[in-house]
Symmetry: C2
Subunit: 401 residues, 2 copies
């Protein structure tokens, strides 16, 4: 018998019918000679509704009480899913995070998993039970329930798979992971497999189905993570260790981010104190600066371009005005009509010329790159928003995504 | 500092506004130099909604999973009430039943409290915190959450008051306990106090605000239980040890039950085997026989009258038909238009003539008694339904309720 950890998200257990469908899928897997551990999220919008209720009562609710409140959503799902399995003639048993010993550390509402006691899980599996575990929650040293923050249930599932030395299957509302968003490029191909590193880059670029934490954990323990549809019975995508020197694709994915603005400041006196003080103002307002490029100094003056989230435009404007008042000789330019286009691929490491090919295809389509940054397996560039559709299509086509 | 245990029911915490009102009441009490432990039920109809959801998924859900499901309602209330108190500037901390060590035994969905660990409660009170505890739930030896069945939150509150040697205040949607239902007799007086025994009789007669379990517990530990309105600031009723030989009221309460039918069987052969077999049929169908009266045998034949719940009329008819087929000489009479009128009072023990006075006042009002049963502190009789209003008023007036 092989253990498998499955995870179903809130949409997948959002109604009585959907819970019953999930139960059927679990039973199918069990009949295939598997021992099954299932992690579930709260039903549909339960968590959102509870958050609203809390804020109606207290605009800054205690995080300990918030965790207690939010952890109820998963308790409801696990008991209902167990009941559904039992009504179909299968023995199932549910456990909360604290009950199964998912020990966490760190602050309430964003705790991190320290360890999991597998005794009860293995005992129940050996009694031929399907084990249903509440995602998103654990317990701290005070014996208080904690929650794991964004992507929490994915993290619970992967962590369980890690300690049980089992593969993890994440069932969600997409059919797998695509190199490029099918809404942008309908001919997009679903990936059969993707490496942890590529998935991490794609997730942090906003293109990911899964939260980076879960992928990091999978990478650390070398746990295979399958991402597939909870509705349709089609093969999904496996996230696993990247194969070195593989001959395949140089580029695995393309991502586009349209929620950025680009700010350029010209003729700043070349003085590290000025530059650092400037960026400190942004950090102070919790504005997340993404790409930064700085020109080499000419006549003691430099130009700096950087991107920031569009939603921070007002705060950014205030900082820029104050900065300009202090340094009247500088020039400030804000460009709101930009997009950040990124290509990701572990193959870049071994295959040369990916950047050249990428830049050439943009040039062939008359697309200007306003800024460029790169990592070992990623190239990002800022382009004009008007060019974004043709850029995505051309890249997807050129790299056969 | 004196510890007080307060309990607020589901209606009292049924909305954001009501939770805030409850928080205000708690703070008021705390300012009166009290250390407060609060027990809350699930908000409004939460528990009913969860039960419906469970039955939609599984017509006979596992009781263990049912307990997990239903115990979420109180977890939501305790966290929201803590948040409300915190938003008003008071330190509050919530605990679930399992977390505070409310140890239970017995079956899921109807567990009984075995003991409570007061360490965390006393520690938190000494840190000047208001302690909010989830009612209706505990934990069994398997470390699984359990629920206490009907009247569970009242039982939790009284049990906590018992182990903390504190009085218990039950806040509810009535202003206290009345000797007679104010809806039947608008001039009804609210009782200042009532004994555990009287309250138990009244509760089992369907007239009680509180579940008998909680009252039994209070009686065992001699814990004073206050019942008062959660909405209006008026004195309620105290349930406490009855004072022996007290001069006061002979009758504390009147109750009326209109959901009974009376069945009379004439000319049954006087044979214990026949009688016991007959009642065994009813027990077999889980029909709860209440009052039974049997006449002395004449010519080897007896008459038996008894009452049963109206809802069991169909099943009762089947049993009676089968019985008549076997014993064609008997006569069967079913009277659906009856009411059970009861008077309860610890004073009956020490004051003679209560029964005589009661029977006389019925006679004065031309009300026939079709059956009578008595206990040490209660007299119940079956009357015709048409007489019920005048009977309640006349009794309430005669005994100054």
């Amino acid at each position: 018998m092989n253990i498998v950890v499955q995870k179903y998200g809130g949409t997948s257990v959002g109604s009585v019918e959907r819970i019953q469908n999930v139960a059927k899928r679990i039973i199918e897997k069990k009949k295939n000679n598997h021992q099954i551990v299932v992690v579930v999220s709260a039903m549909g919008k339960t968590t959102d509704d509870l958050v609203k209720l809390a804020y109606a009562i207290n605009p800054s609710p205690s995080k300990r009480e918030m965790d207690r409140l939010l952890s109820t959503g998963e308790q409801i799902s696990i008991s209902l899913l167990s009941m559904a399995l039992q009504s179909m003639g299968h023995d199932a048993i549910s456990f909360t995070g604290p009950q199964i010993g998912i020990r966490t550390s760190g602050l309430h509402t964003k705790s991190r998993i320290e360890g999991i006691d597998t005794t009860k899980i293995l005992d129940s599996l050996n009694e031929d039970k399907i084990v249903i575990i509440a995602g998103f929650q654990g317990v701290n040293d005070n014996d208080d329930v904690t929650t794991l923050g964004r992507g929490g249930s994915d993290t619970s599932a992967v962590a369980l798979a890690c300690v049980l030395d089992a593969p993890c299957e994440i069932y969600t509302d997409v059919e797998g992971i695509y190199g490029v968003d099918p809404r942008l490029y309908p001919a997009a191909k679903k990936l059969d497999s993707v490496s942890y590193e590529e998935m991490l880059e794609m997730a942090s670029l906003g293109a990911g189905v899964m939260h980076p934490r879960a992928i990091e954990l999978g990478s650390k323990y070398d746990t295979n993570i399958w991402v597939a549809s909870s509705e349709f019975d089609v093969p999904g995508t496996i996230i696993k260790k990247g194969e070195k020197g593989m001959e395949g694709q140089s580029i695995t994915g393309v991502a586009i981010d349209n929620d950025q603005i680009m700010i350029t400041i010209r003729d700043i006196p070349f003085d590290m104190n000025i530059t650092s003080h400037f960026f400190y103002q942004f950090a102070n307002k919790s504005i997340n600066i993404d790409m930064i490029s700085q020109s080499a100094p000419i006549d003691g003056l430099i130009n700096i371009s950087f991107t920031a989230p569009s939603s921070d435009l007002n705060d950014a404007n205030k900082i820029l005005s104050a900065f300009q008042e202090k340094h009247p000789s500088i020039g400030v330019l804000i460009n709101e009509s930009i997009s950040k286009l990124s290509v990701v691929g572990i193959g870049m490491r071994s295959q040369s010329g990916v950047a050249a090919k990428f830049f050439q295809l943009l040039a062939d389509n008359d697309i200007q790159m306003l800024m460029i940054t790169t990592s070992e397996i990623r190239i990002s560039c800022i382009i004009k928003s008007k060019d974004k559709d043709i850029a995505v299509s051309a890249t997807a086509e050129a790299f056969e995504l």
